[in-house]
């Protein structure tokens, strides 16, 4: 499944300073959700300091998640089922203003 992952607000520093990452997730028996995407990201994409991005099975509090420009809280959060060509944006708010 092809997705575009985007990072902003400093989150990109944890992913090789790259703001946009096109990814292709392998076929899976169970549908991909944000929960399983995060696990895949931790294993395949996170360059350093996983604890700054992931806490438990979710993102660290202070990191906002938008799916196709929509707040993930409107879309079932971690359980949202990813669709082909979805754009997932992770914006960190954890920095000075």
């Amino acid at each position: 499944m092809h997705l575009t992952l985007e990072f902003a607000g400093g989150a990109e520093l944890l992913f090789g300073k790259q703001k946009t990452h096109p990814v292709d997730l392998p076929e899976s028996q169970t549908p991909w959700t944000i929960r399983t995407l995060l696990v895949w990201m931790r294993d395949n994409l996170l360059r350093e300091r996983p604890e700054l991005f992931i806490q438990g099975d979710s993102v660290r509090p202070g990191i906002l998640v938008l799916v196709n420009d929509t707040d993930w809280e409107l879309l079932d959060g971690l359980n949202y089922q990813l669709k082909e060509n979805d754009n997932i944006l992770f914006v960190s708010t954890l920095h000075g203003g």
């Binding site: 520093l13 420009d69 707040d71 409107l74 914006v91 708010t93 920095h95 000075g96 203003g97």
Partner: protein
Amino acid sequence: MPSATCVSCQGQRPAALVRPKTSEPYCKVCFFEAFEREIHETIVKEQLFKPGETIAVAASGGKDSTVLAHVLKLLNERHSYGLKLVLLSIDEGITGYRDDSLETVKRNQQQYDLPLIILTYKELYGWSMDEIVKAVGRKNNCTFCGVFRRQALDRGAMKLSVNKIATGHNADDIAETILMNILRGDIARLKRCTSIITGDESDENEGSVIPRCKPLKYAYEKEIVLYAFYKRLDYFSTECLYSPNAYRGNIRTYIKDLERLRPSSIIDIIHSGEQVLVKQTAKMPVQR
């Protein structure tokens, strides 16, 4: 999971976010309208400005001050506040952090078409933050930097002949400060930190400093970030090199966890902090 209909326009437009303040779904247009209107209401209710005043917006290039500059300019025009706005930036001399963020402020100056003045610690005090940290080590750096910066803002404001300074402190910042002061037992600071205006003539202790105010006091950090994102506002976002050791970091983590459980916690902490009254007989901590 909240329904996907904007509570404000009742489904005229698809909901795009859940506002942490109210836990209600909003579409982008209604969110912009509510966000801007609430700041306007804060400004009016707390009488932050008077027509004809010159206001220095403390600008770091970060998310809060960028949104503050954008919204103040917009509201000034929309509601005819009659204010003259200028951008005031302080360069503490932190390589890899402040030098980059100042580039953003310079772009903001172009984008918002506002005058900009930049003052540096080196000019004012003879030391940059990098030099200070090298001399004293990586401890309590934020404490010194905060004090120097506040004084630098005052000096800059006097140079520009402004009447007030507006800073971008948001609801999360103020909730953090309240908790920090409670945990440290600093009741003197606790009393001051919930004031939306500090340093005006009525406060004898403040002496002749320039009054400063926090128009974003009740705006959630999440909403500031989303506003900036949806409006494609240009801001700089990196953690200061010297901040990881700061005590505030622990409080921030705690507040973020609380917000996840109950989003209204942040505003609730501010309201509680505002209600705290210190007994006349209580001994105030001595400033060390």
